[in-house]
């Protein structure tokens, strides 16, 4: 699908660390929209081997803050045209998205999100138990009797896509525009002189460059450390699991914050399920038995008839968490060093818009208007972009 360049040049105009969706999308939009094509994307594993290939593929824009809603809604607009843009079928499938409320506090947040969404032209509304029961007759509305569903935030544009194809599609499209994607190339250090980025050293040699973009999710603190920076980012594993394939029975995406469940059914019939973060900092994407038993228990509260269904696989990714559940994007205190990070548990849906806005930010040397509330300096200003009500658990 794309070239595998044999040698690394000694200089590139732009070096992007991380060949996940975000890094590859940034390379693609830099080449397509800004004519910057002398780009190397460095990847220590293989394309899409990080969180791009580990997430549960949910795409939505029903966020809480106006800044978040505008940003993710731009992403949805890009998603809808992405099959044609990239010339690859991404299996983008609009399903509708229910965020279930089991108590008044969750319902209040749902109303808040619905009103912010409507104000910005995003199709979200609060629905009552009767409408939910009609749409989801297979769900136990009492959730085992201990968490009755009192309403939901319904978001019609909610969608899923094939995550691997997103990475491959962006890689191929960027490659065709002249971008070099170097897999099996690990970054060992960054050269910073007088507050400016000057180069990158890798397992395949050194590169001189005045522009580096880091898009490495759970490895962000290690890359920042190479540039002499600390940040609020803290790494926790996020686990997920998938069932054996079933006949199609679940069209929409279902999220329950109270039960720590999000679930959708893939085109292959598998149920893809996730829950909340592992509770402690850890830099190993390991799986645990506690995760499977806990999540399976909550799934059975909602769908008791699944009791005989087998779990096929489980896995984990390393989530780069921020205190306000918003990303950290754009310029950093090191001139020429740009960050696309803090994507925690909410990054897949942002892949196209993160690429588009990071590319514009790098090309123009100033943060794109859609990402100014996600800037590095917001913590020093004590001006956080509180997105926890829409980003935690609900993916």
């Amino acid at each position: 699908m794309f070239r595998a360049p044999e040698r690394l040049d000694s200089h590139y105009d732009v070096v992007i660390i991380g060949a996940g969706g975000h890094g590859l999308a940034t390379a693609y939009y830099l080449a397509r929209d800004h004519g910057i094509r002398n780009i190397a994307v460095l990847e220590k594993g293989y394309i899409g081997s990080g969180n791009t290939g580990r997430n549960t593929t949910i795409i939505r824009s029903n966020y809480l803050t106006p800044e978040g809603v505008r940003f993710y809604d731009r992403s949805l607009a890009l998603w809808r045209g992405l099959n044609d843009d990239l010339g690859l079928n991404l299996f983008y499938s609009t399903r509708g998205h229910y965020t279930l409320a089991h108590n008044d506090a969750t319902l209040r947040t749902a109303r808040w999100r619905a009103e912010v969404n409507k104000h910005l032209g995003v199709d979200s509304r609060v629905v009552g138990p009767e409408e939910i029961a009609r749409a989801l007759p297979m769900m136990d509305m009492s959730c085992g009797g201990h968490a009755p569903i009192v309403g939901a935030l319904y978001h019609a544009p909610g969608a899923v896509a094939r995550h691997d194809a997103v990475a491959w599609g962006y890689a191929r499209a960027a490659d065709r525009l002249g971008v070099e994607v170097h897999q099996q190339t690990e970054v060992l250090g960054l050269q910073v002189e007088g507050g400016r980025i000057r180069g990158v050293s890798t397992t395949r040699g050194n590169i001189a460059t005045d522009c580096v973009i880091s898009a490495v999710a759970g490895y962000t603190p290690r890359i920042l450390n190479m540039a002499g920076l600390t940040s609020p980012i803290y790494v926790h594993p996020l686990q997920a699991m998938v069932s054996e394939p079933l006949k199609p029975w679940l069209d929409p995406i279902i999220v329950s914050g109270s039960l720590h469940v999000y679930v959708s059914q893939t085109a292959r019939g598998e149920l893809v399920m996730g829950a909340s973060l592992d509770p402690r900092e850890l830099h190993t994407p390991r799986s645990t038995r506690e995760f499977v038993t806990g999540l399976a228990g909550h799934m059975l509260d909602m769908f008791p008839f699944l009791a005989g269904v087998k779990i096929n696989r489980q896995w984990a990714g390393l989530a780069d968490m921020t205190p306000d559940f918003a990303p950290i994007m754009g310029r950093t205190p090191v001139e020429g060093f740009f960050l696309d990070a803090g994507w925690g548990t909410w990054g897949f849906k942002a892949t196209p818009v993160a690429g588009e806005t990071m590319a514009a930010t790098v090309a123009r040397g100033r943060n794109h208007p859609l990402i100014t509330s996600f800037d590095w300096e917001r913590f020093a200003r004590f001006e956080l972009t509180g997105e926890k009500g829409a980003a935690a658990v609900g993916h």
Binding site: T220, P221, R222, L224, N225, T230, S231, P232, I233, Y234, V235, P279, R280, E281, L282, H283, T284, R286, T288, R289, E290, D320, P323, F379, A380, R381, F382
Partner: protein, 90 residues
């Protein structure tokens, strides 16, 4: 199942415990400028390393300090409340 050594209860299943965050020193609020204070409030050492952390054994309501390698999840040692006071762990 992951087991965690508790200074009071011995080896117990990990899901009986609550992670209470890294043990961190607070700068003098009167002396710290805004930048230093914001870094204390928000910034963390996010790279994998050996860290001292607060842990809580929920069934017995017991706080203690634990040293753990965040790269491997290996627990290296623990301190009881009394040892924390005696050893100056904080």
């Amino acid at each position: 199942m992951k087991l965690i050594p508790c200074p009071l209860n011995g080896l117990r299943p990990a899901d009986e415990f609550v992670y209470g965050g890294e043990v961190r020193g607070m700068p003098d609020p009167a002396a710290a400028d805004d930048k230093r204070w914001s870094e204390y409030v928000f910034h963390r050492s996010g790279i994998p390393s050996v860290k001292r952390e607060w842990w809580y054994h929920l069934p017995s309501g017991y706080w203690f300090v634990l040293e753990r390698d965040t790269a491997t999840d290996q627990v290296l040692r623990t301190w009881s409340a009394q040892q924390i006071a005696e050893a100056g762990v904080l």
